[in-house]
Subunit: 468 residues, 2 copies
């Protein structure tokens, strides 16, 4: 809504903030800022996806966990978003020999929540648009940004005419995603450290259709996973009864998107390695052939904040790989940090922005590393007996002594007040102790016996630190 | 020299290779390739520096060690280059309290060699120009490069007219340095991993003038170093009796290039921390004020080789920080690798280039990390008693058992056949063993006694690996 139509609002407006990008992060941030009495202009380069039949954009399914909810709580959006999400209480591992192993994500009531990115974006944009201080413009592509004075230029490409518009702002947030234009422009600023790292793996999406009655063909309250060591498929439920499957496979080598070119080879590959689900997939060979494999990359930059006039947020600042399911959770946590710092520093952006960068950079570096490392855990170890045993011992110990030990996955997904970087440090110390437990002779036989947990308890106490 | 004037040469020419950049690496590579019967076109964006009064370009002094000599041996350039270089047998540490500590670089005869970058470049270009198959063109800036077919476009900016020239090559080497244009263009290729990391430190150069009789004011056969923990100055001798000093100092914070703005503060800073050399410096306060601080950064990329048509080499592939004095040594080693692979794979570039990338990438990553870590060693530890003691024990042990232990610096600088990555691994294992030796009670008193070396010897043997 345009504030020029609301002169009464102008009086209390503290400053003018631009946001590049109207994805979930831009929309959430806009609502947070406007409710703190900032005038917010969001510019989105794409057309309004709500007016289009086919949504163009990143489509990896999302799983929201506690960090996302904590951020959405700030604007009261949690109940509405949960209405459109499906809780997943466990990971179901589909082994190569067609058996299934269930692994709870946390305690019985703890779940991660699957939701369509489009739906989530829709909800958050609708909330932002109700804010009198938010002004949302589509089809406006950022073409220039002055990192010293914060002025930007947007080009409007609609109706086959290009109109340039200069925008003055007290502050610009770049919420323009993994391929951020602002970040690309920032590469021209002095002493800008930048890294983009491509993974060996690429991905495509396949679909499991719904049953005729609209029900799901697999347990819908689980994330399904087919770990195959060097490649991997996962499936997340959609609310229409279908599942979206994501196949992660190397770009080169054997097998890979490069080596699998012939239809019969693709069919053999899919039906051999994903035998249980192959019959449920919607024309998978055709889909495999027609879709270009998407790259997976992670981005790390420094600084995030330029002259206290421009700040990166979300994937623009820290695009990561999806293996820990934390990308958007982490980006929403960026927004929560901004909200908290506005309160702490009473709208003094000269303090807010450096504090934001300092606190978030270290934590996003940590989750980005964890996400990269997690590929091996889910692709290689997820069905390895000793790995599964370790997870079981850990879960049992956590249940016995919840104040002494929280598993890393729980710290990341269900402990929203624990910073990622601290969780990672604790996780490393836990690994070292679990190594000692796994050295117990015939641990496979004895893992349920008390002495194992007494030993782990004494090891934890020796460290004289608790693993919260 | 242009081969069109030498039709007799054309018959034996194997293929046409372009080199972007006529620095020391481009010039050395051109001579190597032309002597292997390739027609080589070098394009340099700058004007011929030999025709100019003031050389524009990177000016950090160079120190050449065995890896450089080994590469220069291939074209027989070592004796000529050594004529213009000054051997440095030791590092002389100037402590804050104006005492001096000498540390030999290796055995008594082992030296690193200081040389002016301009002189070295001049020598290597003169050699390349004598090759009938080498064609050298200045003032030609690369504007376009097709990474699939290897075609490139150069623009000639001389005489205020821009002439564009299309160049077809079987292969293009990018030897265009730390700010490589080819590498920048490569960022548009698919799945290009790229990282540029800026250090906290920047640098400026100051000068110690010669005595009136042309002699040096400090020992000329040493690298002088003023370690001051968070900052650092080094001095390398020039053949005209002067020294070039490089002051490394943080960009921000206290003290830093940002904090030191007033002339009196600069004077106080320099005269306090570099008291012994301050009177010898040529107008240091003025020089400090007038020079913009240069950034220090490291670059890491993958791949280096594109469709076997374009390959990065030298700083274009692996720009590093100068703290180990290995930048050009490492780049020359890239050229040596190419020379050796041409022989091994008998001019089959489909094999040469992947092998080049595989072998060099891992080794340049290793030396780049070592160079970054080395700042702490030379700025912080160089005058720390326990560190110095460790180095002495190591040197003594190496002298007693040269086949069991070679210090890391020697492996890097004087063991040209030992790959950097292996040297780094060995160095880490040595560190762990030396930690145990330093735990010996009152090691400061006992370090010359036999039992210390017997213990170290048994530790090495326990590892059942020798530290060559």
């Amino acid at each position: 809504m345009n504030t020029t139509q609301h002169p009464s609002l102008q009086a209390k407006v503290k400053a003018k903030i631009s946001i590049a990008g109207a994805g979930p992060v831009g929309a959430l941030l806009a609502t947070i800022l406007s409710r703190a009495n900032y005038q917010v202009n969001i510019f989105e380069s794409r057309a309004d996806f709500r007016e289009q039949k086919h949504y163009q954009g990143k489509s990896i399914n999302l799983a929201l966990s506690d960090r996302a909810w904590r951020a959405l709580d700030i604007i009261g959006a949690t109940p509405l978003v949960k209405e459109h999400a499906i809780p997943l209480y466990q990971r179901i591992v589909h082994t190569q020999d067609n058996s299934q192993i269930s692994q709870n994500y946390g305690d019985e009531q703890q779940a991660i929540w699957a939701i369509s990115r489009v739906k989530l974006n829709e909800i958050l944009l609708a909330i932002a648009e109700q804010e009198p201080l938010v002004n949302l413009t589509f089809n406006n592509r950022l073409t220039h940004l002055d990192f010293v004075n914060g002025c930007s230029v947007y080009a409007n490409h609609s109706e086959h005419i290009v109109k340039q518009k200069e925008v003055e702002s007290d502050l610009t947030f770049a919420a323009d995603g993994a391929y951020s234009k602002v970040r690309r422009l920032a590469q021209e600023t002095p002493r800008f450290s930048y890294s983009q790292h491509y993974m060996e793996q690429c991905y495509i999406e396949l679909t499991i259709t719904a049953n005729d009655d609209g029900s799901h063909k697999l347990d819908k309250n689980a994330l399904h996973i087919w770990p195959r060591k060097h490649f991997l498929m996962i499936a997340l439920p959609n609310s229409d009864g279908s599942f979206t499957c994501t196949l992660f496979l190397n770009h080169d080598g054997e097998p890979s998107f490069s080596s699998l070119q012939e239809k019969e080879d693709i069919k053999a590959f899919l039906s051999t390695h994903f035998a249980d689900v192959y019959p449920m997939l919607n024309d998978p060979v055709e889909a495999f052939c027609q879709k270009a494999a998407n790259p997976l990359f992670l981005v790390s930059v420094a600084p995030w904040v330029f002259n206290n006039k421009v700040a990166l947020i979300g994937d623009a600042a820290h695009a990561m790989v999806p293996f820990y399911g934390q990308g958007l959770n982490c980006s929403f946590e960026d927004c929560r940090e901004i909200a908290e710092l506005i309160n702490i520093h009473q709208d003094d952006w000269e303090q807010i922005l450096p504090a934001y960068q300092k606190s978030r950079k270290e934590n996003t570096d940590a989750i980005s590393k964890l996400a990269k490392e997690h590929f091996q855990e889910i692709s290689e170890f997820a069905c390895e007996p000793r790995f599964i045993l370790k997870k079981r011992i850990e879960a049992k110990f956590h249940k016995m002594y919840p104040k002494l030990w929280t598993p890393l996955y729980t710290m990341i997904s269900f402990s929203a007040d624990l910073p990622y970087s601290l969780a990672r440090q604790i996780g490393k110390r836990q690994d070292a102790l679990m190594e000692q437990i796994m050295l117990i002779k015939d641990i496979e036989k004895h893992w349920q016996e008390d002495f194992v947990y007494e030993k782990l308890k004494s090891l934890v106490k020796q460290e004289s630190k608790t693993f919260i």
